[in-house]
């Protein structure tokens, strides 16, 4: 990690108020880099083009529930390739894109060893995913749009700063049945990471 970034994070953690306040819900917005795990012959490059919005309401000291909205764009460039299909042959370079959107109902369980400032959690989100598969070549485009079931277990840590703000880091695994028969894409699984800000509400 770059020194300036380390110093900034430490400074931020050191300057928060010393007294924790109880919050009963929070919103968060995170950057969500991800890496595909399935159908990697179509796209196997990681992406930093992803974000996540979430809302949680504390049900008890240990449980929170809410919703998450995510989107990410995966893309990969393929240099000029020749494809033969019977008597037909096509040569082109091309881009594969997956625009992925997810909406889940999610729950979090805060671990018993949580403190007021550091709250590790495990969570699970269940919902739906919309994947828009695109193949771009020259001015032409082939695309397919599919919905599927989405399951997303995760582990992470919530850092309440003691005021209105906090931070969160998390890692998740995404399982989705949003497969594209047109592109021979059977389901979409990935891992992702979240780093972002949390806004507490009291």
């Amino acid at each position: 990690m770059k020194p300036w970034l380390t110093c900034s994070l430490l400074l931020l953690l050191c300057t928060v108020s010393g007294v924790a306040q109880d919050f009963d819900r929070y919103f968060y917005f995170t950057w969500m880099p991800s890496m595909p795990l399935s159908n990697t012959d179509w796209i196997d490059e990681s992406t930093g083009k992803g974000v996540r919005f979430g809302y949680r309401k504390l049900i008890s000291d240990k449980f929170a529930a809410g919703i998450d909205y995510t989107w990410a764009t995966y893309d990969q460039y393929y240099p000029t390739t020749t494809f033969v299909d019977g008597t037909r042959t096509i040569t082109t370079d091309y881009f594969n894109y997956v625009y992925s959107y997810g909406l889940t109902v999610s729950g979090q369980y805060f671990m018993p060893f949580s403190t007021e400032r550091v709250m590790p959690f495990v969570g699970l989100g269940l919902g739906a995913q919309l994947n828009r598969y695109f193949q771009y070549y020259n001015i032409y485009t082939d695309d397919d749009q599919v919905w599927g079931f989405l399951g997303r277990p995760e582990v992470g840590v919530l850092f309440p700063f003691g005021g209105k703000w906090g931070a969160t880091v998390a890692a998740h695994y995404t399982f989705s049945t949003a497969k594209s028969e047109y592109f021979g894409y059977d389901g979409f699984n990935s891992i992702g990471f979240n780093v972002g800000v949390v806004m507490m509400s009291y």
């Binding site: 989107w71 460039y77 033969v84 008597t87 037909r88 082109t92 020259n138 001015i139 209105k164």
Partner: protein, 207 residues
């Protein structure tokens, strides 16, 4: 806190606008043509010897009435035709005049697809009736027209040796090269695409 309430949505909007469905680099997309070829699997390409092709002319066929024309000249038609004939000659075929009863006819033409869109544009100060607001000043909307062309260069090899009694001929090889209206270097990309079309059609030979 009020400032943060403003900053956070702004940051979100910026990130959304950046991250939501980014597109590939246009220049990277159009710096090479797509080259598509197809052939008649019943054709015996070794059975033909001669072909006829007009030497400095290609056609332009459009979906826009009255737009069909002939492309003549040294800028595009001549190098395109020369490149096709060079490859055919290298594959063992011989160019002859049409009155010498060629075995094959070779046609090249640009297939143009003209798309036109019209938008109604409402100037500042004009509010759509029905939304509860009416401007003090009335500016009528104006129509803005957008048009874009797409097009492919089509090369066809037609069998004149086996004309049916009903005077029907078969296209035994076809190549589609495009897009010719979005290229960075039209002539060079076309010539490269013609090279690729023949390279991926090894069966198109007398040997």
């Amino acid at each position: 806190m009020n400032a943060l309430k403003v900053i956070l949505p702004v940051v979100c909007v910026v990130v959304i606008s950046w991250g939501c469905e980014p597109q590939p680099d246009d220049l990277k997309l159009v710096d090479e043509f797509v080259v598509f070829t197809n052939y008649d699997q019943n054709a015996d390409f070794g059975s033909y010897l001669t072909y006829y092709m007009r030497e400095d002319t290609i056609g332009l066929v459009s979906n826009y009435p009255g737009d069909d024309t002939i492309v003549v000249g040294s800028d595009y038609a001549r190098p395109v035709v020369d490149q096709i004939m060079t490859h055919l000659n290298a594959r063992g075929y011989q160019s002859v005049d049409f009155d010498e009863s060629p075995d094959l006819a070779v046609k090249a033409y640009v297939l143009k697809d003209l798309n036109i869109f019209q938008d109604y544009v409402y100037p500042p100060g004009y509010y759509y009736p029905g939304y509860g607001y009416y401007s003090y000043y009335y500016y009528p909307p104006y129509v803005q027209t957008y048009a874009y062309n797409t097009g492919v260069l089509v090369v066809e090899v037609i069998d004149l040796k086996n004309i049916t009694p009903q005077n029907q001929v078969a296209v035994i090889w076809t190549a589609h090269l495009g897009d010719v209206f979005s290229s960075l270097n039209l002539v060079q990309q076309t010539l490269d695409a013609i090279d690729q079309a023949f390279q991926q059609s090894a069966y198109l030979t007398r040997q």
